[in-house]
């Protein structure tokens, strides 16, 4: 029973990580229908940027965190401006391969600058976040992850429901032409959504870096793990990303714990194929029925 509970808690913790890694991905897809294969590298860029500010720049944690967010905001803006905008209206394969190419470029850059070794942040989390319930132990980083994901979920919920920019974004996602004709600045919305999504990705990268250490290869692997998560949750649902993340996380830890540790990494993809065949729009995705 204890083993089961520990697996359950671990699964939820890992799942939350997947969930927040997937949030930025979903935001990009929601606003511009781009499948971002460079997501893992965006996570890594954020984590490494933070790393160099903290360890090389010796800046205080809060300042470097804010600087990283600003930097990533700009980065997302520039990516959209220079790479994605010329491709609006182009074939899907070009958009996908462009993000694949960007992924290779970013990965090469990160490896050139920081190398492929594992780096760690200096410890800065307060111990008060540590939770021990009977035999179950939750490390402070995981409770912080939980906290951050709830905060961001609420923030994004409010942003999309209440703020005018959020409503513009939803309108563009829903129907680009109608939004344009009603006076929404579609280009600005695209740029803004990439900027915000890059910011979210960087933040998730930092959280992942705190937990597992910062390593390009691990982080870009998570960028691919995002696909089962978002398909399960629905490609355009942010809440769905979190829930999909938790389900995939649980699935991984339980197959790893009970069935076969080597099956652990491939189980999300088997589930992915199954979901795609049965319910391609996921649990919370917008259903567009098309029968050809």
């Amino acid at each position: 029973m204890d083993f089961f509970l520990q697996l359950l808690v671990n699964g939820i913790c890992i799942g939350l990580l997947y969930g927040i890694s997937a949030m930025g991905f979903v935001m990009i897809f929601k606003a511009s229908s781009v499948l971002n294969f460079a997501h893992g590298e965006l996570l890594a860029l954020g984590a490494f940027f933070f790393l160099s500010l903290v360890t090389w720049g010796k800046l205080p944690i809060i300042v470097s965190f804010l600087l990283t967010l600003v930097g990533c905001f700009l980065l997302g803006f520039l990516i959209e401006k220079f790479f994605l905008r010329p491709l609006i209206g182009e074939k899907l394969i070009f958009v996908i391969m462009l993000t694949v190419g960007l992924a290779a470029m970013f990965k090469g850059l990160i490896l050139l600058i920081w190398g492929g070794n594992l780096h760690t942040y200096p410890p800065f989390l307060p111990d008060a976040l540590e939770i021990e319930l009977g035999s179950i132990y939750i490390a402070p980083v995981y409770s912080m992850t939980l906290l951050i994901s709830v905060v961001f979920l609420v923030l994004f919920g409010l942003f999309f429901k209440k703020s005018s920019q959020g409503i513009y974004m939803r309108s563009v996602a829903d129907n680009q032409k109608a939004a344009l004709s009603l006076g929404v600045h579609v280009r600005r919305v695209f740029a803004l959504s990439w900027a915000i999504a890059a910011m979210v990705a960087c933040m998730s990268g930092i959280v992942l870096g705190i937990i597992n250490g910062v390593n390009v290869h691990d982080l870009s692997a998570i960028g691919l793990k995002v696909f089962p998560v978002v398909i399960l949750g629905g490609l355009d649902s942010i809440g769905g990303a979190i829930i999909g993340g938790i389900i995939i996380g649980l699935l991984e830890t339980f197959t790893g714990g009970y069935l076969n540790p080597s099956l652990r990494d491939v189980v999300p993809y088997i589930v992915l194929v199954f979901i795609l065949m049965v319910k391609p729009y996921g649990l919370f995705g917008l259903v567009e029925i098309e029968r050809v």
């Binding site: 499948l35 790479f83 010329p86 491709l87 182009e90 899907l92 394969i93 070009f94 996908i96 391969m97 462009l98 694949v100 190419g101 960007l102 992924a103 290779a104 470029m105 970013f106 990965k107 090469g108 850059l109 990160i110 490896l111 050139l112 190398g115 492929g116 691919l224 696909f227 089962p228 398909i231 080597s262 099956l263 990494d265 491939v266 993809y269 088997i270 992915l272 194929v273 795609l276 065949m277 391609p280 050809v292």
Partner: protein, 356 residues
């Protein structure tokens, strides 16, 4: 049907047969024949073994890239699992050769057919999914095949790998780059011929119709699902065929090379070469293979420059960066790929002095 010795200055075709002709002029046919003659007559005898090795690799990857081009460029179905199919072919040939002692001239096509079967299984989602959902499904296929190749140890020997016997026909052993050159490039010529001709047939037209507008194709009576599966089968056959030759050429294989990176390289070959263009796939395979070799050479030199080593920089990731940059630049600047550049180059000669 008359053949002109020069390109006409307008469209003077009178029958469908003329419309479908591959060579518009005798000149083109002679050029291709001459090129092949030079390739087979000179290349294996005058090139150094290293250059021949690169050429052989280009030939193998070109076969696989042609297959992927049929799927992506002509049928419009994006597959991220081509690298895994390549691996399935390599393993099928290796297992057939070591366990059942099948001679190579049977095991290579058999590997192609086995891969075609696997490709059809992973093409089944295309009946229900399209666009990016299908892409993600093939991505899952890539990981699942990779997992099976590593974990099914009783068959694939897992991470140990398999060593193949050298192929022999009638007591005559094929080994060394020179002999393989003939095997590989004869296969390339045959597969290219087959691909070019299948695109002129009813099947090719159906593929193009599905790519351009699947609803209209269905409305015109093309059974979409069957043709999509067929396209998956043909493209996987090419991948498996190339993989099998590669396995024989490399002598021993492990699961390591058949990862997502290889799939991405295949798509890069198709895009850089030119989608929907059979010679384009060969250009793309050439470009990517040569780029890889040049970058390996360049990073090797840079590693020995004292300034860089003293700074502690590792230049190996430069390869990855330039590879990504090449994809991005081609997509942004010349989305039709090298085939389009080749066409522009040819027509500028033809239209000289009024070329643009």
């Amino acid at each position: 049907m008359k053949k002109m010795s020069f390109h006409p200055c307008g469209n003077y075709r009178e029958s469908y047969a003329e419309e479908l002709s591959i060579f518009e002029t005798w000149f083109g046919r002679v050029c291709l024949g001459g090129f092949l003659l030079l390739l087979f007559g000179l290349a294996p005898f005058f090139l150094s073994p290293y250059l021949l090795y690169i050429l052989n690799n280009i030939g193998i990857f070109a076969i696989a890239a042609i297959g992927l081009n049929i799927l992506i460029g002509y049928t419009g179905q994006i597959s991220l699992g081509h690298g895994a199919f390549f691996g399935v072919g390599a393993y099928a040939a290796a297992i057939l050769a070591t366990r059942l002692n099948v001679p190579f001239y049977l095991s290579i096509p058999a590997a192609g057919f086995i891969t075609a079967l696997v490709g059809m299984i992973f093409g089944i989602p295309s009946g229900r999914l399209k666009g990016l959902y299908l892409t993600i499904a093939t991505l899952a296929g890539q990981f699942i095949i990779e997992y099976v190749l590593i974990q099914w140890e009783s068959l694939t020997m897992g991470t140990m790998g398999i060593t193949l016997p050298s192929p022999s026909i009638a007591g005559w052993t094929i080994s060394g780059d020179k002999m393989f050159f003939f095997l590989i490039f004869l296969s390339l010529v045959v597969t290219t011929w087959f691909a070019v001709n299948i695109m002129r047939s009813k099947f090719g037209r159906a593929f193009i119709a599905i790519r351009d507008n699947d609803r209209a194709a269905e409305g015109m009576g093309i059974p979409i699902f069957k043709y999509k599966l067929l396209s998956f089968a043909i493209s996987s056959f090419y991948a498996g065929f190339a993989g099998a030759i590669w396995a024989y050429y490399m002598v021993s294989i492990t699961t390591e090379p058949f990862n997502l990176g290889l799939s991405v390289e295949f798509i890069a070959m198709v895009i850089i070469g030119g989608m929907g263009n059979i010679p384009g796939a060969i250009f793309g395979a050439t470009f990517i293979t040569v780029l890889n070799e040049v970058l390996r050479y360049a990073t090797g030199i840079l590693m020995n420059v004292s300034v860089i080593t003293s700074m502690g920089l590792n230049m190996a990731p430069l390869r990855e960066f330039v590879f990504g940059l090449a994809i991005v630049l081609f997509i942004l600047l010349e989305p039709k790929g090298l085939a389009e550049l080749w066409r522009i180059l040819r027509s500028s000669f033809r239209l000289w002095p009024f070329s643009y």
